[in-house]
C-alpha cells in the first residue's frame, strides 16, 4: 500500500534543543500507526510539524503526494488531516452539538457575507446535523447533544474529539494520547471504536500513546522516537523485543 503521509528528514530545533533530528517515516494508507517514545522525545513536536504549527528547519512533509510543510494549520486541516491534543480541547461553553457542527470544512454559513442569509445555508446545516446525530447515536450520546462540552465526562470528550475528524472528511487523523486519563476499559473501548471508524470510513490513524499495552493490540506498525531521533520501527512484536527500545524506556546508561 502507498503511504498517505511521508515525513522526510525533518529536523526542528528550539534554541539549543534539538527536538527532531533527521526523522523520516511513512504512514500507510488505511493503517493504524503508533508513535511511542519517552517524554520529551519529540512526538508532539512531530505532530505540530505535520499539522503546520511549526515549520521544520529542514526536511519536508508530504500528504497524499502533496507537500504540506509550510502550510498554515487551517490549510492542513482542509487538505484532510485532523488532529487532537494531549489535553482535550473542546469548546467548553458550547454544546456538544455545536462542537461537532464546527468540524465540517467549507460550510457556506461560515462566511461573513452569507451568514445573515439563512436560506443559503440552512439546508446544509440540517444535513450536517443529521450526520452528527447518526454519529452520536453510534456511541449512545445523542441524548447529550445540548450538554455543554465542559460538563461532559472524560470518556465522552475523547469520543467526541476522535469522531470530529469524520465530520471534517479527514483522511488521516492524528491522535495525541487518546487514552490519557481514562480507565483501561474505556481506553480499550476507544481503541475498538478507532478500529471501527477506520473500517467504516476508510480512515488512517497515527497515534501517540503511552499506554503501550493498549496500543500494541491495535496497531499495524510502530515508530519509536528517542531524543528526537527515530530509534526503532516495525510491527508491535518486533518493537517490543528490540533491546534499544527496552533500554530507552527503562533508561540505560
Amino acid at each position: 500500500m502507498d503511504p498517505i503521509l511521508k515525513v522526510q528528514n525533518v529536523s526542528k530545533r528550539f534554541g539549543g534543543v534539538e527536538a527532531l533530528k533527521d526523522v523520516s517515516l511513512e504512514v500507510k494508507r488505511g493503517s493504524v500507526t503508533g508513535l511511542i517514545g519517552p517524554n520529551g522525545s519529540g512526538k508532539s513536536t512531530l505532530f505540530n510539524v505535520i499539522t503546520g504549527f511549526y515549520k521544520p528547519d529542514f526536511g519536508s512533509v508530504y500528504f497524499d503526494g502533496k507537500r504540506i510543510d509550510g502550510l498554515n494549520p487551517d490549510e492542513v486541516y482542509n487538505m484532510g488531516i485532523a488532529r487532537t491534543f494531549q489535553t482535550p480541547r473542546l469548546f467548553g461553553p458550547l454544546t456538544t452539538l455545536e462542537n461537532m457542527m464546527l468540524s465540517p470544512k467549507g460550510q457556506r454559513g461560515e462566511s461573513l457575507l452569507r451568514a445573515p442569509l439563512r436560506k443559503t445555508w440552512l439546508n446544509e446545516e440540517m444535513q450536517i446535523a443529521n450526520e452528527v446525530k447518526s454519529l452520536l447515536k453510534g456511541f449512545d450520546m445523542d441524548g447529550l447533544y445540548k450538554m455543554l462540552a465542559s460538563d461532559l465526562s472524560g470518556g465522552h470528550v475523547k469520543m467526541v474529539e476522535t469522531s470530529k475528524g469524520i465530520l471534517g472528511r479527514a483522511k488521516l487523523i492524528l491522535l495525541d494520547e487518546p487514552t490519557a486519563g481514562v480507565h483501561y476499559a474505556v481506553g480499550k473501548n476507544l481503541f475498538e471504536y478507532i478500529n471501527y471508524l477506520r473500517k467504516t470510513y476508510n480512515l488512517t490513524f497515527f497515534i501517540i500513546e503511552h499506554r503501550i499495552d493498549l496500543l500494541f493490540d491495535y496497531v499495524d506498525y510502530v515508530y519509536v522516537l528517542h531524543m528526537g531521533r527515530l530509534l526503532s520501527e516495525g510491527t508491535p512484536e518486533e518493537v517490543a523485543s528490540d533491546p534499544k527500545v527496552i533500554e530507552a524506556y527503562i533508561g540505560g546508561a
Partner: protein, 380 residues
C-alpha cells in the same frame, strides 16, 4: 419643570448611539473574544469623517471659501444649513457611508499586524492607537485642532419646529439601531456565530478545525469598526459640534461596562447595558439641571455608580444580566427537542393563567377554595 418628552428626546438618541457601539463591542468581545480597548478610535474616526465631509460639501456647494473651522464658516453654516433639505439628507447618507468605510478600513489596518498574536497585543495596540489619534487630532489644523468642528449640519435642520426635528432624528437613530440589531442577530445565529465563539474559546483548536482565524478576525474588525464609525457619525450629527477631547479612552470603557453589565455574547444584553448606562448618564445631568444648588455635582457620582454596578454584577451574576445562550440555527430540531420546549411553554402559560385566576378570585372575594395562598393553587 421636568418634561418627560424632552427627557426622552435627549435620552433616546444617546441610547441609540451607545447601543450601536455596545453591539459592535459585544460582537468583538462577547462573540469573538477580541479585547478591543480602542473602540473610541473608530467611533472618533466616524465622527470626524462625518463632520469634515458634511461641512466641506456644504461650504463648497454654497461657494464659500473659508477654512471649515473659521468663525466665518461657522456663521455661514448656520445660515445655509436649513436651506436645502435634499442636500442635508444626501450629505447625511454619504457621511454615514464614508464613516463606515474609513473607520472599517482603519480597524482592518490597525489590527492586521496583531491578529496572529494573543488578544492582549490587539487590545494594547488599538488602545494606544486611539490615544495617539486623539492627540494627533488636537494638533491637526484642517479639522480645527483642539477646537474641533462646529456647525455640522443636522440632517433635519430644514424642519423649523425643534421638537419635530429632534423626534425625526430620534426615530432615525432608533431605526439604524434596529437595523444593526437585526443584522447582528442574523449574523451570530448562524454557523458564522458558532465559529466566532470557537475562536473566543480556543484559537488554536479553532485553527485545527480549519477555520482561518486571522482572516475571520480581520474581517470582523472591519465590519464592527465600520459600524462603530457609523455610531460616531450619528453622534457628530446629534451634537452638531465635536472636539477631539470627546473621544477619550473613558468612552471605550463605558461601552465595556455596558457589555459586562448586560451580558457578554448576547446582543440583547448589550442593549440592556446601553440603556442602563445611557439612562444613568442622562439622569445625573438632569439632576444637576433640576437642582442647581446641590453641593456636589451628581455627574461625579456617575462613575462611582458605574463602578459599583460592575462590582455587583461580577459578584452576583458574572455572566451579565442576560446570560449567553446557544446560537439559534435550527440544527437542534433534528434531535427532536422542539416538542419538549413547546410543551414546557404551554405548561408555564397554563400555570400563569392559574395564578392570575386565583389572584382575581381572591381580589373579588369569592369562595373558590384557592384562597389567598396563590402559591398553593392546585391544578391537576
Amino acid at each position: 419643570m421636568f418634561d418627560i418628552s424632552s427627557f426622552l428626546i435627549s435620552w433616546f438618541p444617546l441610547f441609540g448611539i451607545y447601543a450601536v457601539l455596545s453591539l459592535c463591542l459585544n460582537l468583538e468581545v462577547g462573540y469573538a473574544g477580541m479585547a478591543n480597548f480602542g473602540l473610541v478610535a473608530f467611533y472618533g474616526i466616524g465622527a470626524f469623517v462625518a463632520g469634515y465631509t458634511s461641512i466641506t460639501i456644504f461650504l463648497t456647494f454654497y461657494g464659500y471659501n473659508y477654512p471649515i473651522y473659521s468663525p466665518e464658516a461657522i456663521i455661514a453654516m448656520g445660515r445655509v444649513a436649513g436651506k436645502t433639505p435634499w442636500l442635508n439628507i444626501s450629505v447625511f447618507i454619504l457621511s454615514l457611508i464614508l464613516a463606515f468605510l474609513i473607520a472599517g478600513l482603519a480597524g482592518y489596518l490597525v489590527s492586521y499586524p496583531t491578529l496572529r498574536v494573543g488578544p492582549a497585543f490587539l487590545g494594547i495596540t488599538i488602545l494606544s492607537f486611539g490615544e495617539m489619534l486623539r492627540v494627533f487630532m488636537k494638533h491637526f489644523a484642517p479639522t480645527g485642532g483642539a477646537y474641533g468642528m462646529l456647525g455640522i449640519p443636522h440632517p433635519f435642520a430644514w424642519i423649523p419646529d425643534p421638537a419635530i426635528k429632534n423626534t425625526s432624528f430620534l426615530i432615525l437613530t432608533l431605526a439604524i439601531l434596529i437595523g444593526v440589531l437585526i443584522y447582528f442577530e442574523l449574523l451570530v445565529n448562524s454557523p458564522y456565530g458558532r465559529v466566532l465563539k470557537s475562536i473566543r474559546e480556543d484559537e488554536t483548536a479553532s485553527l485545527c478545525i480549519g477555520k482561518p482565524v486571522p482572516q475571520i478576525k480581520a474581517r470582523l474588525l472591519f465590519v464592527a469598526s465600520g459600524i462603530s464609525g457609523v455610531a460616531g457619525a450619528l453622534y457628530a450629527f446629534y451634537l452638531g459640534a465635536i472636539t477631539p477631547d470627546m473621544f477619550i479612552t473613558a468612552v471605550t470603557f463605558e461601552v465595556w461596562s455596558m457589555v459586562i453589565l448586560g451580558g457578554r455574547g448576547n446582543n440583547f444584553g448589550a442593549l440592556l447595558g446601553a440603556s442602563v448606562f445611557s439612562l444613568l448618564n442622562r439622569a445625573t445631568s438632569i439632576l444637576n439641571f433640576l437642582f442647581s444648588d446641590l453641593p456636589i455635582d451628581p455627574n461625579y457620582f456617575r462613575w462611582m455608580i458605574t463602578g459599583a454596578l460592575i462590582v455587583i454584577i461580577l459578584m452576583y451574576k458574572p455572566k451579565g444580566i442576560i446570560a449567553e445562550k446557544p446560537i439559534k440555527t435550527e440544527a437542534w430540531k433534528i434531535f427532536g427537542a422542539y416538542g419538549e420546549t413547546k410543551k414546557k411553554l404551554i405548561d408555564s402559560i397554563l400555570r400563569i393563567i392559574d395564578y392570575l385566576k386565583s389572584a382575581i378570585y381572591w381580589l373579588i372575594g369569592r369562595e373558590t377554595g384557592y384562597g389567598p395562598d396563590i402559591k398553593g393553587s392546585k391544578r391537576e
